[in-house]
Symmetry: none
Subunit: 193 residues, 4 copies
DNA sequence: TCGTAACCGAGACGGTACGTCCTGTCTTGTC
DNA sequence: GACAAGACAGGACGTACCGTCTCGGTTACGA
């Protein structure tokens, strides 16, 4: 394993890749998406622009790369074998991811940018949101299996009802999303699933 | 009354103002937010860049201006003296506004941009979203007054539950928002208000 | 007699005219020709741009106006009935006009600008330089009349020989033009007229 | 030796440099200094504005660059071992340079602009005029060495007397500068050196 | 062991849009 | 009818990034 190298015939430099992703993350957190430029990332990462364009197509592409691992890691729902608790915990984690984590800031920036860029929107959906949707379904599917939810439950509508209000606050109104709020959404859902 | 004039000490040219707003609207619809430039708007509107910068601070500022009238006009909830029908109709109109109208495209672009620009986010909230929130409250307040809803109903949470799933589809997943979906949200809310 | 008025049916405002000429002069002296703008003159003079364009065609036109009186006044050669003294004194005065006076600064700016603007060059020659040339001829013509110079003396070449070195220093090399230098030119000319 | 390349870490593109200088020269000759713009030069040269600003600070800076070679080449005095002939020929060449050559047009434009711009004036003097002055001194120094001129001759005043009338005609009066005129200046100088 | 291929940094290149400044024209209402 | 005020279309300014390109240096396999 070549560990850290500065370029050779055997593949890209892992060091350069990490520097770029970290620089992009840092600059996004420090200055925001609007002030994020490929030139800035290159300078911060100590990397040439060419190296960036060799491996990524744009600053958005870099951000998508930084997101890949984090989402699966942070947003996999727990399994307490208790529907209410599973939902409550998962919603709370999603809320914290979106509002407090660096990865959440990247996510919000990408969802924002997707409003201007249909190609990004499509890519986000196929590569990221569909996987997240699959994770979000898990607690509900387990609930159906256990008989805590009726067999015919429309899981997708359930997810829209549970997570929609959360996204509304995060993306539109900017209101905080405390646990009391997410728990109330769970209550409302369970009262009329 | 000076009606249409060409700009003098007594104020700006109404003709120039309208040309700019229309040009911005058209270009957004035709090419999208990313391809929208102040230079392009100026050229399309037959107006100098200086005139644009005299009255607006950025392309975002222009778009905010195009939005002002449309929102109040398109998104005022009807009053059928029937809570279910009021909510159903209003949600449906909001859904159509967001997904089908030119003004909705402007709105989505601005919400997207607000993810990158806290100042825009703040301005959107104080100048636009709070007014819309006030309009959204009306059917529910009337329902409470009529006794169709309990006196202690938390109207804001109700709005989050009713509209959140809609925004999730529009801004994130890109799924369509048919009337069947919005009606289902109304059903779920009324089943456990 | 309308004395000072603010614009009316009785003709142009003398106050506005003076303000503009003074403002132009001051700004040229303070900031130089390059930083001189019609807008700046208007602001400094407390006059509208329209008023300037009503009476002058450009900033150059204003400067020409400021020059008109000064040149005749400052550059009329004295008559001591002594060729050497007349020439010495006149050359010295021209040198001081060009290097030390505000009007000289205007003159240098206009000669500079005339290198870029053939119309200005033509106007300078017909309206200003020809009159100055006529004044410069006077001491020599009087010298011929008195018999101090040969009858066939080429007065124009004489003027070129006497004043050319002076202009070379003022316009090109930037060297000072002390009286010793101008007197030396007179000596050289009189030694071989 | 990389000869012609397209610009990289090892230096600028010689092709871009030449294109810019030629374009500036052509445009000055065609339309004059006032109509010369950096944008116009960039467009004509097929070069981006950024490339121009990377290497030159203004259109004046470009023109200075075009002048460098031409002056030394066109204005080096000949050596016929004959003072009168050397001076006559050199003056005539300078006159033709100033009035007929493209480089002379550039020179006149720069001297004109130097009236508005002290920094340019200083740069012209240190980088160009002093070298030219050195060349202008050569015939006179050789004349002194040969004994054709007195040992104590003030060479600088001699140059002012010989060239001043020429510059007066070129820069101020616009009169032609035929060989008869320059020869007459030589005669006058040699009659009273 | 040395050539060679892939990757690296550096940075110049042609472009596009930015936001500012000034030009010269115009319109309005006052004096 | 001249004036102050100032909005207007136009266009050049100088700057910031974009995405592409070429260069010379570094690394490590394979001939």
């Amino acid at each position: 394993m070549p560990a850290l190298h500065h370029g050779n015939r055997h593949g890209r430099s892992e060091q350069a890749r990490r520097s770029v992703l970290e620089a992009a993350d840092d600059l996004l957190a420090e200055r925001g998406f609007a002030a994020l430029t490929v030139e800035g990332i290159a300078a911060r990462a100590g990397v040439s622009k060419q190296t960036i364009y060799r491996w990524w197509s744009s600053k958005v592409d870099i951000l998508l790369d930084t997101l890949a691992d984090d989402m699966a890691q942070m947003l996999t729902p727990p399994d307490y074998r208790d529907l209410r608790r599973d939902l409550s915990e998962h919603l709370h984690r999603v809320a914290r991811f979106l509002t407090e984590s660096d990865a959440g800031a990247v996510y919000r920036a990408l969802v924002g940018q997707a409003q201007h860029d249909p190609a990004l929107a499509a890519r986000l959906r196929t590569d990221y949101l569909s996987e997240q949707r699959a994770r979000d379904r898990l607690p509900l599917l387990r609930g159906i299996e256990r008989g805590d939810l009726p067999a015919g439950t429309d899981v997708d509508v359930a997810i829209d009802r549970l997570f929609g209000p959360l996204y509304l606050r995060v993306l539109v109104t900017g209101e905080p999303v405390p646990r009391a709020f997410t728990d109330r959404l769970v209550d409302a859902y369970l009262a009329a699933p």
